[in-house]
C-alpha cells in the first residue's frame, strides 16, 4: 500500500490529484462518470462578491493541443454560493476548495470572509490571475504590490488554508511566489491560463468576443512545468501544479518538478474520467519505482551536472 496523503497548510488531502477551477464545475457535473470522493479535492469554479454574467459569446476557441476560454468568472455570487451551492457540496464526501475571485481588494476580502465561516470549506484558492476580466483578476496577479496587498488583506479575514493562484503572464514567477509567501499564503497554485488570442482568417475576426482569452491544455504544459519548478525552488510553502496535465505521466512530471499536489483542468473536457485514471497511474508508478509515500516524489529530480553554468538564473 502506498501512502497518497499530502498536506497543504492545515489541509490534509487523501491524495494529490485534484481538479482545477472552472474545469470541473462544482463536481456534480462529473458524478455520472466517476466517484468524485476519490479525488484529493475539487477546486470549484470562481466565486465573486456579486452575480456575474461573464463575458459575451463566443467564449471558446480550439488551438493546437489546447483551447482558449474567456468565460470571465460567470457565477451567481458568494451569497448564492453559500445558500444554494454549499449545501449541495456538503452532501459529497469530497474536499471542496472555493476559488475566490474579484475586481477589487474589498471584493476579495468580502468573499474570503464569508467563506471563512463555512465549516465544510477548509481552504480557498485566491484567483489573482484571471486573464479574462477587465478589472482585477490578472491585474492583481501581475503587479507585486497589488498581489501583496490583496493577499495580506485576505489573510486578515481568512484563517484556514489560503492558496494563492499565480498568473503565468509575468516575467518572474519566483518574485510572485515569494510575494505570496511573504504576504501570508499557505500555498501557491500555478499556472492559470496564458493570455492568448485566436483569429478566424476567413472571417477576418477574432474568434472570441473578448478578442483575447486564456490558453490551457497540453500546449502550456512545458511552460507550467518550468514555472512550478522555479516556484518550488523559491518558496518553502507547498506548490500545487497546474497546466495541461492529461495523464499520469504529466502529473508525475509536475510532482518531480516540485508540486505537492496537482490540478487537472482542460483534460476533464476530453475525458471526464481522466482524474481517476491519473490517480491510478500515479499509484502504479509509485509501486514500480518503490515509492512508499507520494511526498517522496515531490522535487525528486536528478539535476544534470553543471547545468547552472549554462542556464539563465531565474531563481
Amino acid at each position: 500500500m502506498v501512502d497518497m496523503q499530502v498536506n497543504i497548510g492545515k489541509l490534509v488531502l487523501k491524495n494529490p490529484v485534484t481538479t482545477a477551477s472552472g474545469c470541473f464545475g462544482y463536481g456534480s457535473e462529473y458524478t455520472d462518470f466517476m466517484d468524485i470522493s476519490r479525488l484529493g479535492a475539487v477546486f470549484t469554479k470562481a466565486v465573486t462578491g456579486e452575480n456575474r454574467e461573464g463575458n459575451p459569446a463566443p467564449r471558446m476557441a480550439e488551438t493546437p493541443s489546447g483551447m482558449l476560454n474567456s468565460v470571465g468568472l460567470q457565477n451567481k455570487g458568494v451569497d448564492y454560493f453559500i445558500e444554494h451551492i454549499y449545501p449541495v457540496l456538503r452532501q459529497y464526501d469530497t474536499v471542496f476548495i472555493a476559488n475566490v475571485s474579484g475586481s477589487t481588494l474589498d471584493e476579495y476580502v468580502e468573499v474570503a470572509g464569508k467563506i471563512n465561516d463555512l465549516s465544510g470549506i477548509p481552504a480557498i484558492e485566491l484567483n489573482i490571475s484571471c486573464p479574462n476580466v477587465k478589472k482585477g483578476g490578472m491585474v492583481f496577479g501581475t503587479n507585486r504590490q497589488s498581489a501583496a496587498e490583496v493577499v495580506k488583506a485576505v489573510r486578515k479575514v481568512y484563517d484556514k488554508t489560503l492558496i494563492i493562484k499565480l498568473s503565468p503572464n509575468v516575467a518572474s514567477i519566483p518574485d510572485f511566489a515569494k510575494t505570496a509567501e511573504g504576504a501570508g499564503a499557505d500555498a501557491i497554485s500555478l499556472i492559470n491560463t496564458l493570455l492568448a488570442m485566436a483569429i478566424d482568417a476567413e472571417k477576418r475576426k477574432p474568434v472570441l468576443a473578448t478578442v483575447t482569452g486564456g490558453l490551457s491544455g497540453p500546449a502550456v504544459k512545458p511552460v507550467a512545468l518550468r514555472m512550478v519548478w522555479e516556484a518550488y525552488h523559491s518558496v518553502s510553502i507547498p506548490v500545487i501544479g497546474i497546466g495541461g496535465i492529461s495523464n499520469a505521466t504529466d502529473a508525475i512530471e509536475f510532482l518531480l518538478a516540485g508540486a505537492t499536489a496537482i490540478q487537472v483542468g482542460t483534460a476533464n473536457f476530453i475525458d471526464p474520467q481522466v482524474s481517476v485514471k491519473i490517480l491510478e497511474g500515479l499509484k502504479e508508478y509509485m509501486e514500480r519505482h518503490h515509492f512508499s509515500s507520494v511526498s517522496q516524489i515531490t522535487g525528486n529530480l536528478e539535476m544534470p551536472e553543471g547545468f547552472e553554468r549554462f542556464r539563465p538564473k531565474t531563481f
Partner: protein, 256 residues
C-alpha cells in the same frame, strides 16, 4: 429528472456516405440505450491531430432501441468530421451521451420542422416523436444545392417533405423562409435547426404569427456537460449554457 450520462465506446456498425458532404454513422452499444430525446446530442472523441483537440458535439439523427443503435448524420466541414467520416465498421468510437435539453412536444397538432443544411439531423427523431404523440409533422429542408440532398424516404414516411435549394437544382429555388409552405397559417408551431440567420428568420415569422418556435443552436462547446461555461447563450433570462439549458431554446428567450 435527467437520464444518467454515459461515457462509452460504441461499435461502428456502418458508415454510409449519403453525398459528397454528408455521411450517416451507425453506432451500437452493448448495453440497452438510455432514453434519448430529439434535439439531444453526443460528444464524440476524435483523434488528437494538428487541428483537433476537443470532442465534437453531434445531434442524434435516429435511434433504434431494439438494436441499441444510434444514427448520426454528419457533414464534413473540418478535420474532426473528416476523421469521423473515415471510421469503418468494426472500429469503436468513444462518446458521452445523451446530452442537452431536447425539443418540447407542446400543444397543437401541426408543426413545421425547418432546417438548413445538416440542421436536418435532429428533425428525423423529432418528426417521429411528434407523430408518436399524435401530431402532424411537416418538413421543410433547405440545401445549398442538390449536392447536399440525399434519400429522404425516412422523413417522407413521417409526413410531407418540402425542399428548397439555393440554386434551384432540386425543390423550390430560394431560402426556406421564402418557401410557400412558410406563408400558410396551417402550423401551430415551428422547430428549426441550421444556420443562425435562417433560424432567426424562422423565429421572426413565428413571432409575427405569434406561434410556438424552438431552435437548436450549435454554439461551440468544450465540455458539453455544463462544467466549462464556454457555450454561453445570452437569453432574456440571462446567460444560459447551450449544452445543458439548450441546445434547444424557445426562440422567444433568445437574445441573438
Amino acid at each position: 429528472m435527467s437520464v444518467k450520462k454515459k461515457i462509452e465506446n460504441l461499435l461502428v456498425t456502418a458508415n454510409r456516405r449519403l453525398n459528397s458532404e454528408y455521411f450517416e454513422l451507425i453506432l451500437q452499444s452493448n448495453e440497452s440505450l438510455p432514453g434519448i430525446l430529439p434535439g439531444q446530442f453526443a460528444e464524440l472523441k476524435v483523434d488528437h491531430t494538428e487541428h483537433t483537440f476537443l470532442r465534437r458535439p453531434i445531434s442524434f439523427y435516429d435511434v433504434n432501441t431494439d438494436k441499441s443503435e444510434v444514427h448520426l448524420l454528419i457533414q464534413e466541414v473540418g478535420e474532426g468530421t473528416r476523421r469521423l467520416g473515415q471510421l469503418e465498421a468494426g472500429e469503436f468510437l468513444n462518446m458521452i451521451y445523451p446530452l442537452g435539453h431536447s425539443f418540447t412536444i407542446t400543444e397543437g397538432t401541426t408543426f413545421l420542422l425547418v432546417s438548413g443544411g445538416v440542421g436536418i439531423a435532429p428533425m428525423l427523431l423529432l418528426g417521429r416523436k411528434l407523430k408518436e404523440a399524435g401530431k402532424t409533422p411537416v418538413f421543410l429542408f433547405g440545401f445549398r444545392s442538390e449536392k447536399q440532398w440525399f434519400d429522404l424516404s425516412r422523413f417522407e414516411a413521417l409526413g410531407e417533405v418540402f425542399i428548397t435549394t439555393e440554386d434551384g437544382s432540386i425543390g423550390e429555388k430560394g431560402l426556406v423562409t421564402s418557401h410557400r409552405v412558410m406563408n400558410t397559417g396551417r402550423f401551430d408551431g415551428y422547430y428549426t435547426c441550421g444556420p443562425v440567420p435562417m433560424m432567426k428568420a424562422v423565429s421572426s415569422i413565428a413571432a409575427s404569427r405569434d406561434i410556438f418556435c424552438e431552435a437548436s443552436l450549435e454554439n461551440t462547446m468544450a465540455c458539453g456537460i455544463g462544467a466549462c461555461l464556454t457555450c454561453a447563450q445570452p437569453t432574456v433570462h440571462g446567460m444560459k449554457m447551450a449544452c445543458t439549458d439548450g441546445p434547444v431554446f424557445n426562440t422567444k428567450e433568445l437574445l441573438w
